[in-house]
């Protein structure tokens, strides 16, 4: 049995390494600073990925700036203020349910509300708002864990000094929970960078340089998706994919590191 299972583990490891290796071999050559920082030409198949990369940054920043306060606020409410009971359970269940919803449905929601009803049209802002809803459960879950991990005596110490609950949360609990919350934020960022389906219907597919978040431009993931559909543009498509993988893995590695350091201390 050991032999069989070890072979299986090797297979899975090989799959993963093969994926990254394949992209590296085909794409690393094209992944130059020139590529990252220049404009695309043709219909996106030539040239660089600067607008797409910038769009992704706008998107991630925008989505996080909406999801983080909302998510941490929800977590603070659940852990610090709400009384344990059916209400808290209900909120948690609903959040968990939201976590499992397919990303395309978030796209539909964003399309229906922001693009059509509110008339915003497909912009990075629209996509950010849509993505924010998608990232919300992740932020809530990790923030809740981080807050719950703060020892109770810290809160009691603050109360004994005459602090209100809000002050205690703001000055003692949140700073203590900050590393864990940051971990959640990093994980959320990783998801935001890689997401395609939710963003496809909401961000637009333009190739222009996004100067503000109200511009309509395609993020990197969508760019790769469209490139693939048009028939690979040689090493550049692989380089784009490689950039995406590095980007997402980077966030996950950072999140892992943050978790590690927290556990070590």
């Amino acid at each position: 049995m050991r032999a069989l299972l070890t072979a299986l583990a090797l297979l899975v490891t090989g799959m993963m390494i093969g994926l990254v290796g394949f992209l590296t071999v085909r794409g690393a050559g094209s992944l130059t600073p020139g590529f990252l920082f220049s404009m695309p030409s043709g219909s996106g198949g030539e040239g660089g990925i600067l607008p797409a990369a910038l769009s992704t940054l706008w998107l991630a920043a925008g989505a996080l700036s909406l999801a983080l306060p909302l998510g941490v606020g929800t977590a603070v409410y659940l852990v610090e203020y709400a009384r344990p009971g059916p209400l808290v359970c209900a909120i948690r269940t609903l959040t968990e349910t939201l976590a499992g919803v397919p990303s395309i449905l978030f796209g539909l929601f964003g399309f229906a509300l922001f693009v059509v009803r509110l008339g915003w049209g497909p912009t990075l802002l629209t996509a950010s708002a849509t993505l924010a809803l998608m990232l919300l459960p992740t932020v809530v879950r990790t923030s809740e864990e981080a807050l719950a991990a703060v020892p109770q005596d810290l809160r009691e110490g603050a109360a004994a000094l005459g602090s209100s609950r809000w002050d205690a949360v703001r000055r003692v609990v949140l700073p203590q929970a900050a590393p864990g919350i940051a971990t959640g934020a990093l994980l959320a960022l990783g998801r935001a960078v890689g997401e395609t389906a939710a963003v496809l219907l909401t961000s637009g597919v333009g190739l222009t340089l996004p100067r503000t978040i109200m511009d309509s431009s395609r993020p990197l993931a969508v760019h790769l998706f469209l490139l693939a559909g048009e028939g690979s543009a040689g090493g550049r498509a692989h380089a784009t994919a490689l950039a995406l993988v590095i980007g997402t893995l980077l966030f996950n590695v950072l999140a892992d590191l943050a978790l590690w350091r927290r556990r070590a201390s």
Binding site: M1, R2, L4, L5, T6, L8, A9, V12, T13, M15, M16, L19, F22, L23, R26, L70, G71, G73, T74, Y77, Y81, A82, L94, T95, L98, G100, V101, P102, S103, I104, L105, G107, L108, F111, A112, L113, L133, P137, V140, S164, D167, V169, G190, G194, T196, A197, L201, A221, L224, F225, A228, S232, A237, A241, L244, V245, T248, F251, N252, D256
Partner: protein
Amino acid sequence: MDVRDRVARAVLACMAAITASGIFLIALAVVLGGWPALPDLIGTVWRPEEGRFGALPLLAGSLLVSLGASAGAVPLGIGMGLFLVEVAPPLLADLMRRLLRAMAAVPSVVFGFVALDLVVPWIRARFGGLGLSLMAASIVLTAMVLPTVAAVAEDALRAVSPALREGAYALGASQGQVAWRLVLPAARRGLAAAAVLALGRALGETTAVLMVMGNAAAFPRSPVDPARTLTSAVALEMAYAAGRHRQALFACGALLLVLNLVTMHLARRAAEGGAER
């Protein structure tokens, strides 16, 4: 002080309310958008250009791809779980877990892209046809869903108490027998949850499936045929759909939501059943 606390509580409660209402917002969007076209979905022909919105081929595509992915990911994932619990030394197990987490983090579009370059040509060479097929989609989905199954399976297997394992060894069982005859049956609830979870995740996947499935909106007659799923139809057609077509796509979204909620609920029920013992 007290006022600030009350204000804080009120604001935070609002935030929690918004989060909690998220799922309802999604449901509202798809239902409001697709409600008139729901009856149209009952039918076996999806040809929007002719005004026919029978979603059965799409549903079939979704189910077939997902079942195919589960058929691959569940045994492989459980095997990985067993490896992590019974075979791997702690350091290696930790490394493998990180690897699986990294795998889970790779974006869907990258999986699709790599599959387009590697899996599709292989299928074309081996089995003929376009290569863009159900099979390609199932293979990609297997890889994408595997880490989740492995993680849930590992938890379920680890939960089987060491005292039970000792008892089995003391009766003369080999390691393989302990795993096959004791641990796997004892963990069956958690493993069932992992399987249902795999199915649910696969049903909801859009991008990678879209890229390698060929998108012919008809009933696939063999695994090498192209097909279209509920998810890929929405992603593909929404850009240019109007009127009734758009409503039909929203209705597909509603159908997808129902499928997702049902599977997730079943998975949770299965998992909780296991925790009780």
